[in-house]
């Protein structure tokens, strides 16, 4: 594999109150790939998305590890330097794009403002904004003259993607980018991201709980549980030959995998461990059908094939 464009190394993050949201996350993003981060609420996937661009929640603190963007450790840089990297090297799209825009400025003005660090005249910047809006499927002149609230949810998400890609970053982080949208709009945003990824060539990290979105869009997938990455696999392997028992359980209980009305859906019994006092052994063991005594000890990170890894005692190396 080539040099990763972005990587997390042994990242640990703690929220006030002692919640250990990330517990040693190591993950690499290759240039130009689409990496999916899947998991249920509380697994730390959104925290990881924020940490990858060093936008941490209030009081959150990286206690260990590093986030390397083109060789620079984001966790150690001064905020001024991080700001310079954001937008140019790395950008983010949120679940609710309304919060990403200033409500009292028109879209055109904001997209021009976002290029504050770029060279060129205002006219050039406006032209660049218009070109990017056209690329995300919006009518540039129309969209630039609108206020954020005048756009529908889908159009706003397109505008947010345009804003994120304006400076042609190497990495785009998208946190639940389609969760607030209707199915038909979700499909269009997925389609758009796929197209743009081919065109702009940036790596995309998609964080979502929606397994269908990951399957449609990603090259590789990392599954998170209780603040850890429990499995990493190429997308086809993950859906057709999952290794970790949690991944298997998660895939099984998605009603979208069932073609007919079966009466009952499989579920995952039990609940998430308390992350203020995480267990020493495997965090999934209390809910795992395969668990045995050995699972009370920290699970090994098994790499049974190139590009595949699982955090589990029960996966044969």
């Amino acid at each position: 594999m080539s040099e990763p464009v972005l990587s997390a190394q042994g990242l640990r993050l703690r929220y006030p109150g002692g919640v250990q949201a990330l517990r040693g996350v190591t993950l690499e993003v290759q240039p130009g790939e689409v990496l999916g981060i899947a998991g249920e609420s509380g697994c730390g996937k959104s925290t990881l998305a924020g940490a990858l661009i060093h936008l941490l929640g209030a009081g959150a603190e990286v206690t260990e590890g590093a986030v390397r963007l083109k060789g620079e450790d984001l966790t150690a840089l001064p905020e001024r330097r991080r700001r310079a990297l954001r937008g140019r090297e790395i950008a983010m799209v949120f679940q609710d794009p309304l919060t990403a825009f200033n409500p009292v400025l028109k879209i055109g003005a904001q997209l021009t403002d976002f290029q504050i660090n770029a060279e060129g005249s205002t006219r050039e910047k406006r032209a660049r904004a218009a070109a990017m809006l056209a690329k995300v499927g919006l009518e540039p002149e129309l969209a630039m003259a609108r206020y954020p609230h005048e756009l529908s949810g889908g159009m706003r998400q397109r505008a947010a993607i345009a804003a994120a890609l304006l400076m042609r970053p190497n990495v785009l982080i998208a946190d639940e980018p389609t969760t607030a949208l209707d199915v038909t709009m979700e499909a269009q945003i997925i389609h758009l991201l796929r197209e743009l990824q081919g065109e702009v060539g940036c790596a995309i990290v998609i964080v979502t709980h929606h397994l269908g979105v990951i399957a449609e869009l990603c090259d590789r997938v990392a599954v998170m549980y209780a603040g850890e990455v429990v499995e990493v696999a190429p997308v086809d392997d993950l859906y057709h030959a999952p290794l970790h028992p949690y991944t298997k359980a998660l895939l099984a209980c998605d009603p979208a995998v069932l073609e007919a009305n079966t009466g009952r859906l499989p579920t995952i019994g039990g609940r998430l461990p308390d992350l203020t006092d995480p267990p020493a052994g495997c965090a999934f063991a209390p809910r795992c059908p395969l668990a045995s005594d050995i699972c009370a000890t920290p699970p090994p990170r098994v790499r049974p094939a190139p590009g595949r890894e699982a955090l589990c005692h029960k996966v044969a190396p």
Binding site: T267, I268, G269, G270, R271
Partner: protein, 306 residues
């Protein structure tokens, strides 16, 4: 076992009635805790309690009869006998100030309370009732609140004469629209909230929805506003009494003490000082309390702070 059920908490099972009261208390207790944590809120609460105690226990706290004349001892400065000195008629100033708290708070709290009550009733009717009634009520609120309070006060006093009742009448009339509009806006916002629609879908009567579900959720902001308005009324009462248009002598009021003080400012400056201090302190107290309540009653902060 459902995946999201909480672990059972080991604690004695409370009685049904008590459980409910305890739950309600818990919500208010956390509000009180937030209020006391905020130094400004805590100071406001203490000041307000001091003045309320002064008003309630005036006969026991005041060393002298506030209207007993002792012309021999007039214009005395502070002394062991008269801590705050005496006024131009030899009345004990401290006693008059303590009784003045009774006048000030009596008027302010009564009028603010009545106006608040009127505001709640009219505001909820406007916010939850039929739209045509709302349109009429809003028109009335707007007309009344376009009258400046001091002008109205002067006009009413001219017609029916000065006095405590007049003051309360004016304040209540002028304050109701502001309170009613606040309650109306809150009610309108909440009447389409899911939990209110849920109540309607369950078949709850309008009376139940209004009093059981809307009222507790709309009074919070009003309480804050009322608390911030109390000092305005105190100042108004003092102002009108200073102009001899408010409380009639010899009833002690901070305003007429202040007036008496000004007329003899040269000979007895202590009167202005001692009558001004409670005005300033009570104003600060209620304002701080209002500011503190603003945070303490915010349910989102109760969540995070609890």
């Amino acid at each position: 076992m459902p995946s999201d059920a909480s672990a059972p908490v080991a604690r004695p099972e409370p009685e049904p009635g008590r459980e409910r009261r305890a739950a309600g208390r818990a919500l208010y207790r956390s509000s009180l805790r937030i209020l006391l944590k905020d130094p400004m809120g805590a100071m406001g609460l203490i000041l307000v309690l001091v003045f309320v105690a002064m008003a309630l226990f005036a006969p026991w706290l005041a060393p002298y009869d506030p209207i007993k004349l002792d012309v021999m001892d007039k214009f005395q400065g502070p002394s062991w006998e008269h801590w705050a000195g005496t006024d131009q008629l030899g009345r004990d100033l401290l006693s008059r100030i303590i009784y003045g708290a009774r006048t000030a708070l009596g008027i302010a709290l009564t009028s603010v309370g009545l106006a608040g009550l009127g505001g709640i009733v009219l505001g909820m009717i406007a916010g939850y009732g039929p739209r045509w009634l709302d349109a009429i009520l809003v028109l009335i609120f707007d007309s009344v609140s376009s009258l400046p309070m001091i002008m109205l006060a002067l006009a009413v006093i001219t017609v029916i004469g000065p006095g405590t009742d007049t003051l309360i009448l004016v304040v209540v009339t002028v304050s109701i629209p502001a309170y009613a509009r606040l309650i109306r806006a809150q009610t309108l916002g909440l009447s389409s909230a899911d939990f209110i629609v849920a109540e309607r879908a369950m078949g709850a009567s309008s009376v139940r929805i209004l009093f059981k579900h809307l009222l507790p959720n709309v009074v919070g902001p009003l309480v804050i506003l009322l608390s911030m308005d109390v000092p305005i009324i105190i100042m108004l009462e003092a102002g009108l009494s200073y102009l001899n248009l408010g409380v009639r002598p010899p009833i002690p009021s901070w305003g007429n003490i202040l007036y008496d003080g000004y007329t003899s400012l040269r000979s007895a400056p202590h009167m202005v000082l001692f009558a001004g201090a409670p005005l300033v302190l009570s104003t600060l107290g209620f304002t701080f309390l209002g500011e503190g309540l603003r945070d303490a009653l915010d349910p989102k902060l109760v969540k995070g702070g609890a």
